[in-house]
Amino acid sequence: MNSVVCIAQVPDTETRIKIGGDGRHIDETGVKYIVSPYDEYALEAAIRLKEKEGGDVTVLGFGPDRVQQALRESLARGATKALHVKGEAGDADSLGIAKVLAAAIKNLPHDLVFFGKQGVGTDNSLVGPMVAELLGYPQINVVTHLDAAGGKVTAHREIEGAEEIIEAATPAVITAQKGLNEPRYASLKGIMAAKKIAIDTKSIADLGLAESDILNQRVTVVSLELPPEKSGGRKIDGSDPQAAAKEIVRYIKEEAKAL
């Protein structure tokens, strides 16, 4: 069972977002980058399958040099190979990124292709299904449980108020949701072993793609803004629970027009 896990590198979720000078991107000064949290569940699922069934786990990242750090961390956790496609992923839209990843995946051993259900930050939830379409694979999105063996994958997909159990033929694309597993930390042994694995690097041109197509955006950011600062409303003393409860109900009825 071979897997490819696509890794997105994103600003730490603790980051206080500031707008950059161009008014279209965030100010990257002092931003700490992490592996997108949902990708950690994807990686853990792939490593567990490898431990059970054998095979390779290749981590794949597209972006500037700092992406190597995310790939290195993933190797330390148990991935066996890594490919870094160099390029300014920040200048591509989701479909541009998906085209790069799909072209790279074609040349990597895989039965399953994993993503997080969304890249934390841009919050698009687009790239995984786009790669599935570009490769002609089935997709199972927002997965909380997974079994794979013998050319078939069975996964639980989270939907509103329910869960679907879906079977698909492999190769297939899986996007991981929180709850799929409990991701492991890198062990010291893993960190040492990862240092011996060379990260393969390629350019967009090496994949047979034209940069113009990848960077020719179908979705362009016109502006990026912070939400208006909320001033905070009324604060009341809740030492008399009945009185507080009455005031809350009055507020909900009269101002929110609910109830």
Binding site: I17, D123, E167, G233
Partner: protein, 317 residues
């Protein structure tokens, strides 16, 4: 004459709220662009509702229950027949599953989870929250059709007073490499936080898992969904599908009640666009009070049960 096509989903013979909202903003875009509003569904039962929200035609396929591949093929057929310039999908699990697949097939642009839409200069402009609502990006979609998924609760559902939509049958291949073997409904058929008008959320202030019963009782009395902070989910007190905020869901209900939630930046990002925010917390300095419209400084263990009783009384009238 740009045509707007809206992907519709039916539940209990009625259109889902997300679909009614998408039709409503779709009608405004069609009016602005001087074009027609049409709809797609896998169920003829959608015709009355789709018409009521302004759709002239309803493209219907016999694809049955939701399946990514068969629905992609059917929607592609509808988009071609309608010559759609704009395609909107309500931001349900299925809408969000389908939109990227369609965009990749047609080599076009898609914006996810948008809360504002306008047709300007022959292009679709959308605003969408990024970094879980810590910032908003305005994007322009080029490529035809322009596709967007709409954030639930961001666009009011407004009827147009129209009659039933004309039903147009489309046939599409039912080939798929996936099969839905079973659908398991969550215990108690709980309301999802994404769709709810009212959310009652609990945080670490609840002290232990069993005390989520206070939150559930209030949510049930008020007819809302149960939300939770990341800390309580990570502690295993409640299932992840209740988590609000970054690594959970971004929500914007009419009323958001936070009890014992201090208001970490990741949580605030996920709910600060709620229309009416009520916070109950014993710490007067808790960050949640900075964004609360009504803040109550006090003990949630006495206030929440009192509120549940008060809500029941109000409902009984």
């Amino acid at each position: 004459m740009p045509t707007v096509l809206v992907f519709c989903e039916v539940q209990d013979n009625k259109l889902k709220k997300a679909s009614r909202e998408a039709l409503s903003i779709g009608r405004k875009l069609a009016e602005a662009a001087g074009g027609d509003l049409v709809a797609f569904a896998a169920d003829r039962a959608a015709a009355d509702d789709a018409g009521r929200y302004g759709a002239k035609k309803l493209y219907v396929t016999n694809a049955g229950g939701y399946n990514t591949e068969t629905y992609t093929t059917a929607m592609q057929a509808a988009m071609e027949q309608a010559s759609a310039s704009i395609v909107l999908l309500g931001g349900t699990s299925n809408g969000r599953d389908l939109a990227p697949r369609l965009a990749a097939r047609l080599n076009t642009g898609v914006a996810s989870d948008v809360d504002r839409l306008e047709w300007t200069g022959g292009k679709l402009r959308a605003r969408r929250p990024v970094y879980s609502g810590k910032a908003f990006a305005t994007v322009e979609i080029s490529g035809t059709p322009a596709i967007a998924t709409t954030r639930i609760n961001a666009f009011p559902a407004e009827e147009s007073g129209g009659g039933a939509a004309e039903v147009v049958e489309i046939s599409a291949s039912l080939d798929s490499k996936t099969t839905v073997v079973e659908t398991k409904v969550s215990e108690g058929g709980e309301l999802s936080i994404v769709e709810a008008d009212i959310i009652v959320s609990g945080g670490r202030g609840l002290k232990e898992a069993a005390n989520f019963s206070l939150i559930r009782d209030l949510a049930q009395a008020i007819g809302g969904a149960v939300g939770a902070s990341r800390a309580t989910v990570d502690a295993g007190w409640i299932d992840h599908q209740h988590q609000v905020g970054q690594t959970g869901r971004v929500v914007s209900p009419n009323v958001y009640i936070a009890a014992g939630v201090s208001g970490a930046i990741q949580h605030l990002a996920g709910m600060s666009s709620s229309k009416h925010i009520i916070a109950i917390n014993k710490d007067p300095e808790a960050p949640i009070f900075r964004i609360a419209d009504l803040g109550v400084v006090g003990d949630l263990f006495t206030i929440v049960p009192a509120l549940t009783e008060e809500v029941k009384k109000a409902k009984a009238h």
